[in-house]
């Protein structure tokens, strides 16, 4: 103490310096404790128990900031009996500057999903500002930046090798709003596949690359809003897409129709997925599998495309049953497991679990089904 005072030339100096050291120590302790407490343990390795290994859900963890909520969501997916999840990983979030990757959030999602025994299908998209012209929206990607997207997708595939088995390239490119509010362009989307697919496969030959994920729509020819998904898919094949994807992602909503309703090119219903499959067969792509990466019914009382809550449950379970019978389909993920916050609109009636993690009746009924039980009605 005296030596410090002597060295610093003032009798109070020693107290001041000791005070500073104590403050520094307390700060370090606080930070270390905070870091420890904010880390959510992965827990023991889990296994999904289900009678239907094709069952899946589309989670919405992209904007879920709290790790315990990520873990809780994925635990509930497992206990519902669904081994598959589709999750969105926005490029702009994880590469905010060229070559600078921030993997903390996807690490948390994927690590927890794997620990819960879930297989992750990753949807990639959402363009960072640096990779698009000024005054464009994040779904705008021009050909000049396809390779930038490819580098991100390759980095993602390499990082999560063995942990993410499937990657979907883009979402619903047959809608103008999903194509940066430009006219839709199947040939342009195929060019994207031709650039990005080889880059991903080089980085991780094991990962399965899914194309498509087309919005089911009856948009008439020349519509400014979008293109009929069956027409768009055929144009993808015509443009040479076949060698640039491993599996096809299909969106197959039931709207107000029952799951068993017959497929019809003039109707958007669940079995439209079979018409999409027919396009694959017509183009000699029978060797490829497909996945339904969005589907489901909505039971909002005032939405014109909704059904009653009971019909929603019955159709959901029927869709899982039909998927189990379709040999060409690997998995079906229904939209959406849980939202980070209430939309306060009809969108909330797509979910299986409330934002407070309260299981909705549909969750409990699907859980009963996955365990071999019958609906409680």
């Amino acid at each position: 103490m005296n030596r410090i005072a002597k060295r610093w030339g003032h009798p109070r100096a020693s107290r001041f310096i000791i005070g500073l050291l104590l403050l520094f120590g307390a700060t370090v302790l606080y930070l270390a404790l905070s870091a420890y407490l904010s880390t959510v343990p992965l827990g023991p390795q889990q296994v999904v128990t289900t009678i239907n290994p094709k069952m899946g859900v589309h989670t919405r963890l992209t904007d879920e900031a709290e790790e315990w909520k990520i873990k809780r969501s994925l635990e509930m997916v497992r206990t519902m009996g669904a081994p598959w999840i589709v999750e969105y990983f926005p490029w702009a979030y994880y590469e905010p500057e060229p070559g600078h990757f921030e993997w903390n959030h996807p690490d948390a999602v994927i690590n927890h999903a794997n620990r819960q025994g879930l297989t992750v299908i990753a949807r990639l998209g959402f363009v960072p500002e640096w990779a698009r012209p000024a005054n464009t929206l994040p779904l705008y990607l021009d050909e000049e930046h396809y390779a930038d997207f490819g580098r991100f997708a390759a980095a993602f595939a390499a990082r999560y090798r063995g942990r993410v088995s499937h990657i979907i390239l883009w979402n619903e490119p047959n809608l103008s709003q999903e194509w940066g509010f430009r006219p839709v362009d199947p040939e342009g989307y195929v060019e994207l596949l031709k650039v990005v697919y080889p880059m991903i496969k080089q980085a991780n030959p094991d990962v399965q690359v899914l194309a498509g994920a087309l919005a089911p729509t009856l948009a008439p020819p020349g519509s400014e809003w979008g293109m009929d998904d069956l027409v768009y898919l055929q144009r993808m094949y015509d443009a040479g897409a076949r060698d640039f994807f491993d599996s096809l992602a299909i969106h197959s909503y039931g709207w107000s129709f029952d799951a068993d309703d017959s497929p019809d090119p003039t109707v958007v219903n669940f079995r439209r997925a079979e018409l999409v499959r027919e396009v694959m067969l017509r183009n000699g792509d029978e060797g490829k599998q497909a996945m339904i990466t969005e589907s489901g019914w909505n039971d909002h009382p005032r939405w014109t495309k909704g059904v009653s809550p009971g019909r929603r449950i019955e159709n959901t379970i029927r869709a899982y049953e039909m998927a189990a019978e379709w040999l060409w389909l690997d998995a079906i993920a229904l939209w959406a497991f849980r939202y980070p916050w209430d939309a306060k609109s009809y969108q909330d009636n797509f979910t299986f679990v409330g934002t407070d993690f309260e299981p909705k009746p549909i969750y409990l009924e699907v859980q009963t089904y996955s365990r071999g039980g019958r609906p409680t009605k």
Binding site: P309, W341, K344, E365
Partner: protein, 289 residues
């Protein structure tokens, strides 16, 4: 120099600006400064809070028209008649409020999901469309007090001894399968496993079970309950809503005058029984579409 410049100013300003330089004037300068700063501070504070500068209310007063956004697809609150004109509980409510103010209502039909965006974009002045209060949007919108509770209620026959969910042990609850009422029943069962949950395909079938004595109570949303009562079912709601869903009127943030005026009228409508009249009118099921 300064004397020449400041000599032309009023005495109070001269005191404020140069009074500090003379000990004699310092107390006066201090008081004047505090007063001036107080006035400026109050003005800034009122600006920050939106103050009384309610442009929405001013616009309504100037034009004599109240632009009300509504999605006319939710009977009996919001619907269209056979000629495409808006009608329903909310339309009557809007007209009654406007009548109090001596102005006209202009109903703007908008999809439900676009209502709040239209409000924030200034396309409409208010939303009246069976709109549930959303705490998450209170940073962007202002809400009136509630005019209808649409949350899940426990309903029983009028002679039932059940007066709340606390009396449900060993009792049979009828619900529409998969509905919010079903969700609440399952939640109640977790706390009281002796509650028996009976599911039906429709709310009407659940009501039938209650009236036939096959169930002791039903859990239904407030709108359905009110429709059942209006149709003559002798049932009453007991206890508060299990999951509150208050319908409110939305308006732009900062529309404080408009909010005050609406709340005052709604309070009066409650006191005079006008809201009850609206319920009887629109939940009787006999209106022409």
């Amino acid at each position: 120099m300064s004397g020449r410049i400041f000599g032309r100013f009023p005495a109070w300003l001269r005191t404020l600006l140069v009074g500090w330089t003379t000990p004699k004037h310092r107390p006066v300068a201090l008081i004047v400064s505090i007063l001036v700063l107080g006035v400026i501070g109050s003005w800034l504070f009122s600006q920050l809070l939106g103050g009384d500068d309610d442009q929405t209310w001013e616009h309504i007063q100037q034009t004599g028209a109240w632009r009300v956004g509504m999605d006319p697809s939710f009977p009996p609150f919001d619907l269209l008649d056979s000629e495409g004109n808006p009608m329903g509980y909310d339309v009557d409510l809007a007209r009654a409020i406007a009548a109090r103010w001596g102005i006209q209502v202009e109903i703007v039909a908008t999809g439900f999901d676009g209502l709040t965006d239209a409000l924030m974009a200034g396309r409409i002045d208010s939303v009246i469309s069976a709109l549930p209060h959303d705490p998450r949007l209170t940073a962007d919108l202002s809400y009136s007090s509630s005019y209808f509770e649409a949350g899940v209620r426990l309903a029983v026959i009028e002679s039932s001894p059940i007066s709340s969910v606390a009396d449900l042990a060993g009792k049979r609850l009828a619900v529409e399968w998969g509905s919010n009422g079903d969700a609440e029943a399952r939640r109640l069962q977790r706390d009281e496993p002796l509650i028996q949950r009976h599911t039906f395909s429709t709310p009407q079938e659940a009501l039938g079970a209650l009236l036939n004595g096959e169930a002791d109570g039903i859990l239904v949303d407030g709108v359905t309950l009110r429709q059942m009562q209006a149709d003559g079912a002798g049932i009453v709601a007991v206890g508060p809503a299990l999951e509150s869903t208050p319908y409110v009127i939305a308006m732009p943030l900062g529309a404080t005058m408009l909010q005050e005026e609406i709340n005052a009228v709604l309070a009066d409508f409650v006191a005079t029984g006008f809201l009850d009249t609206l319920e009887i009118r629109w939940f009787s099921g006999g209106f022409d579409q």
